[in-house]
Amino acid sequence: GAGVSQTPSNKVTEKGKYVELRCDPISGHTALYWYRQSLGQGPEFLIYFQGTGAADDSGLPNDRFFAVRPEGSVSTLKIQRTERGDSAVYLCASSAGAGETQYFGPGTRLLVL
């Protein structure tokens, strides 16, 4: 069966531009998570969706970051006015529900020049 997929796999943008990162979860998984992994670090939590609603967005670093999941499946992470410090690998995960194992996608590597 298909796992979590993320597009694009790599994204290069210029400082100040807007970017969108997409995540397709495992079919039937109700929970979806976004994490950010900086070089040499472990992943850090950004936001968690249960269905269509954001159950916990406490990890979003500031109001330039926003995520949606309008139909309870695919999610898009949106970053406005990108900064060089936003360069990282953005990982998406999904699970069958709260407390269940999270399965990760391959990530999107974002480079802000």
């Binding site: 968690y48 391959p106 990530g107």
Partner: protein, 113 residues
């Protein structure tokens, strides 16, 4: 606050040697614990998990881990390492009141022939 510590940033072993990767956690209740592996340019793959019950858990690729409540540890072990085990290993705790994973900083494993 919940946290995960992986004291070893980098470990080098010879192929065929035994392996133990250390993980200590700080969490106020019985934790859900995970080990993930990340190969270069890849997403995170689940090796094993502990939710409850038997404190020695078996995972994929011949890995096992033991939960020791008294030491707040969840160390990963493998009796005989293969060259293909070279990767970055992350320990994580699930905060089930908020359903987000908290990761350690990772241990990079290098395997010499």
């Amino acid at each position: 606050a919940q946290s995960v510590t992986q004291p070893d940033i980098h470990i080098t072993v010879s192929e065929g040697a035994s392996l133990e990767l250390r993980c200590n956690y700080s969490y106020g209740a019985t934790p859900y614990l995970f080990w993930y592996v990340q190969s270069p340019g890849q997403g995170l793959q689940l090796l094993l998990k502990y939710f409850s019950g038997d404190t020695l858990v078996q995972g994929i690729k011949g890995f096992e881990a033991e939960f020791k409540r008294s030491q707040s540890s969840f160390n990963l072990r493998k009796p005989s390492v293969h060259w293909s085990d070279a990767a970055e290993y992350f320990c994580a705790v699930l905060t089930y009141n908020t359903d987000k994973l908290i990761f350690g900083t990772g241990t990079r494993l290098q395997v010499f022939p």
